[in-house]
Symmetry: D3
Subunit: 236 residues, 6 copies
């Protein structure tokens, strides 16, 4: 068992509203020492494949500041491309948030969620989805106030948490030191009605059977419930 919290405990979660002033929705989300700025930008119009469909779009971009981590990473813009990990997480965030949106109600508008990790200590993608949902919701409220849309297109709440197997034991919400020695790392994106949006489990070192899978799911669903409650405080 880990030192300061139980295996089934989340780290301290904080979501600060209106962290940046310009975006239509903005929060700073912290899962322990992991801190992510989530900004939602509204723009009229949609990508070409949706033009004249009457429906909208939600997309996301994820990145880390070069020194969000223990050692400095080269800036992606300097390398001339996003790395594969950043793109993969961007795609995951976008898919996860789209699962909570009624695109007809959004009309032909696009909401872009920028998730920029300013400090990383494990779980950056789950923090980004959880905070990104709040930013998305706030941007939709802003659109209603502007008269762009009639009602909030968000159909349910979405949050995300990691679970892992560390030294044989299932653990919730891994921080970096735990993640780096985990045998299995799993990320769950779940709606507030307990339906799964995404499940991504990866055996970094030791493969896992269905029994362990179920134990991890139990932990994850417990964490999701707590995150949903925190999100509700933020967007109420």
């Amino acid at each position: 068992m880990r030192n300061e919290r139980k295996n089934d405990s989340l780290r301290k979660v904080e979501i600060i509203k209106d962290y940046i002033s310009h975006p239509e929705g903005s929060v700073l989300v912290a899962f322990g020492d992991t801190k992510v700025i989530c900004n939602a930008s509204v723009s009229e119009g949609v990508p070409p494949f949706l033009r004249d469909s009457g429906t909208g779009w939600v997309t996301a971009e994820y990145a880390m500041l070069p020194r969000a981590t223990h050692t400095r990473n080269q800036r992606e813009s300097k390398r001339g491309k996003q790395d594969g990990r950043s793109q993969e997480i961007s795609r995951l965030i976008g898919r996860s948030l789209r699962a909570a949106v009624d695109f007809e109600k959004l009309g032909e508008n696009t909401v872009t969620i920028d998730c920029d990790v300013i400090q990383a200590d494990g779980g950056t993608r789950t923090a980004a989805i959880t905070g990104g949902f709040c930013a998305l919701y706030m941007a939709c409220e802003w659109m209603i106030k502007q008269g762009m849309i009639a009602e909030n297109p968000v159909t349910g709440m979405v949050s995300a948490i990691s679970v892992g197997i560390v030294m044989g034991e299932p653990m919730l919400d891994l921080e970096y030191a735990e993640d780096s020695i985990a045998d299995v790392d799993m990320n769950l994106v779940v709606k507030d009605n307990a339906e799964i949006v995404e499940i991504q489990g990866s055996a970094e070192k030791v493969a896992f059977d269905r029994d362990l899978l179920n134990k991890m799911l139990d932990l994850g669903f417990k964490g999701i419930k707590e995150l949903t409650d925190i999100q509700k405080q933020v967007i109420k």
Copy 2:
């Protein structure tokens, strides 16, 4: 239920050995009309982060020919970068195959698995992992013959299959027409001892509960068992 096969049936699977003559391991794998060339290339040495560790590395690259699909995609080399999807699948294949290798037995050597889709009809990533495993195994056998290594570092068999929920029904090994209307799309990478290496499930349209998750896992494990038997024929 679908027309020509049962919901729990694989498509016709074929794995043709030595499809290309130059690589140390090479197969053409077909899952129905999906066809992927999997070539394994052996090189001495390892990436910088493993240098002088005495252990080896396995990596993978996935790509599609421009006209593997119904409509032509722009060539990635012409766009000047790999797209996010290709990189994400490349990373998945690499992780999945590394789960089956004892890197100390591999020594400071690298095996690169190139998975090039020449014809796509759904399930290209699962075909690539299943065929890529065979190419990897063959390349390891080649290394033994060359005297580069003493014993085969492959510790178990790895294959992959997709499962989905199509019009409410769980289905195994989705082809493109099914995949494009599926509510849920899940890919499973499993070892021959029934342990999970990767689980990636995504609710494209409708989120799913744990009961449906279990039904999909049942189907997937059935498919994996059949794939493992086919792989055994190839590498025996």
Copy 3:
């Protein structure tokens, strides 16, 4: 003189129709151990410089799988650009095939010929032109069936062959082992009426006089005649 065939002999040439199912025209062409997938894709519309001209366009792209060769080449998409050799050959194939097309009959449509070398043993560009012509022809036939055009815009047959000087002797259709020691390497693209479309001769090691040039042309024209007969079987 070489071992298994005479200096004026082609390698075994095979052209397999409909190799890939999605393209409007598709062949696998083999010149001995050199194997190239040639896919023709039809799209409505033309590049900007031809818009509203009433005439069409044919273009080509050539690439090799990373392990088509003895040692693995880095994937072009990963390097972030096509290499110079690939672009040069792409341009050659496009020019060669355009010489056989009446663009007014093609209407404002574009045919893109993708030539992907899956196994290389010398002569990949000549195989690509010879097979690409067949794919182009088949795509034009498809357009007629679709009612897109009234008659086949192909005005004659085009094929290509290499000739070289190896250890002082002119040789037809060099394979890799011969090509790598050749003093002169020449590629000829010729129509079925014996008119030259492209001649590209390069003295890799020893320059050549006009007498040798003529001897090489004699050999090349012999090979072209045989290739034209094979093409006729394919597209008849």
Copy 4:
């Protein structure tokens, strides 16, 4: 004269130490609503042109989050390159900070200053230099504690401020609304001994004579003095 402060007044300046936990030096600097995270990263070794010189190097990189501004900018990593403005400011910050360092005392070490604008309201480059100096100083103190160097190589304090001509009047520390209507925009980088490190004045709309130049310099030197006092509080 502007509304809430005099023409020769700075906005509220805040410099928060240790904003991010991993870097060797880190501050959040705010000039009014402009907020920049400045992180200093220490690495052993120097760029090739200094190798074996016994002297060190300081370099800087400047970037903005996509939604630091009123409307969202495309992410530089997605465009595949840093834009010209970012590179120009990165070069300015690096040059400015190098003017305050004794490179022999730094030894063969490199300090990289990342300046990431999270919220922009004019004066981002001057805030970045002013905050970047503090991060640099803190990183040097860290190196002393680590025993990497014997004494602090910083030879004097460096800060920066903007001055402009807005509707005919010289004004200190322009915010965005002022900057966008300014006739002249000038940035000054000055040491605490009142010597100029950089002067960059640009007539966006109306060119200026030497008399106006002197008035702007008077304003700028007043602001620099106040910034220096704030920096001293931070690094003391």
Copy 5:
């Protein structure tokens, strides 16, 4: 004091008209051994941000031939991007020349000034601005002759010169050998009415006080006056 000319002397300045035949305006400008080809290209239309504004645009691009310098630089096109210095100077030239243009008189037309350094010996950016102005003026004259515009939109003359502090002494128009040992390097862009368009001074080694700044300005204004006279000869 330097050998062959006084500290307040320009190098020999030559501006050769119509150096290249195709452009609408073209000069070769030489400041001593620094030689820059300045070509002005006229195109109808303006960038998106000016569309339907009724006003025009002037932009510039600066580059060096690989062997314009003592040692060869890698070609920017081969590296896949313009380097930061080239972009920074391109932006400076564009801004400087735009300060001399009435964009309503230019109409919705764009003039692009290409400044290509064929031989570099210090002061390439100042030569480029000085020569670029002449090319711009000539292109405007050409537009009048073509009937594209009614009167010349150039509102005044613009030239540029460098000044530095070398071994404690202010010096005008630094050549490379002087520039490389200068403590301060300043570039001035000034109109013929003695108003400053750009001032960019940088303390490469030793910061400078306002007294030295004024001495450098005196030298610079003297040089600008002489350059303006030479420009008048060219465009009269």
Copy 6:
């Protein structure tokens, strides 16, 4: 027949030595209104594939200034890559010049030939090869003077000329207006002993038979003889 010169006449050819001062060899070559700066740069060492072989290397890079042509081309560095045509010609120049060098005599040194077209009127690649040869020869002479090599490694003279079929008539040294209406365009690179180094003929519109090929070769060899005489004057 064309207006001002006979079908078998070269345009006025000029080769000006030492055009740029820094390179080890430099000429400006003019074929009529086509003007190319050819600079040869010597560097110690060779590319990786030749390391420790005791032999040297010659390589070339070809580019055009944006306004060398009638209408402005986008700068290759701005597009982020060399275009296919530039790379193809670069490769041709390099191959052609290497045919004239004894690499053992060159030792482990590299000569890079930069051919930058400042004004284009057809035949830029043939001018580049002809001028590039002179720059290469001069650089080799420089190396002897420096004591880097014992004797000149150039084994013979190489020059290049274009020939075409314009309105049915063979013509030597096509200028742009002729080239753009030519049915056939052929480039010949020939040594002073009348041996062919490269032959590249392309039927832009109408394919050609062997009789026409021979007529073009006759014209080309006549031109080469005259070019060789001019080169001899330059390098003697």
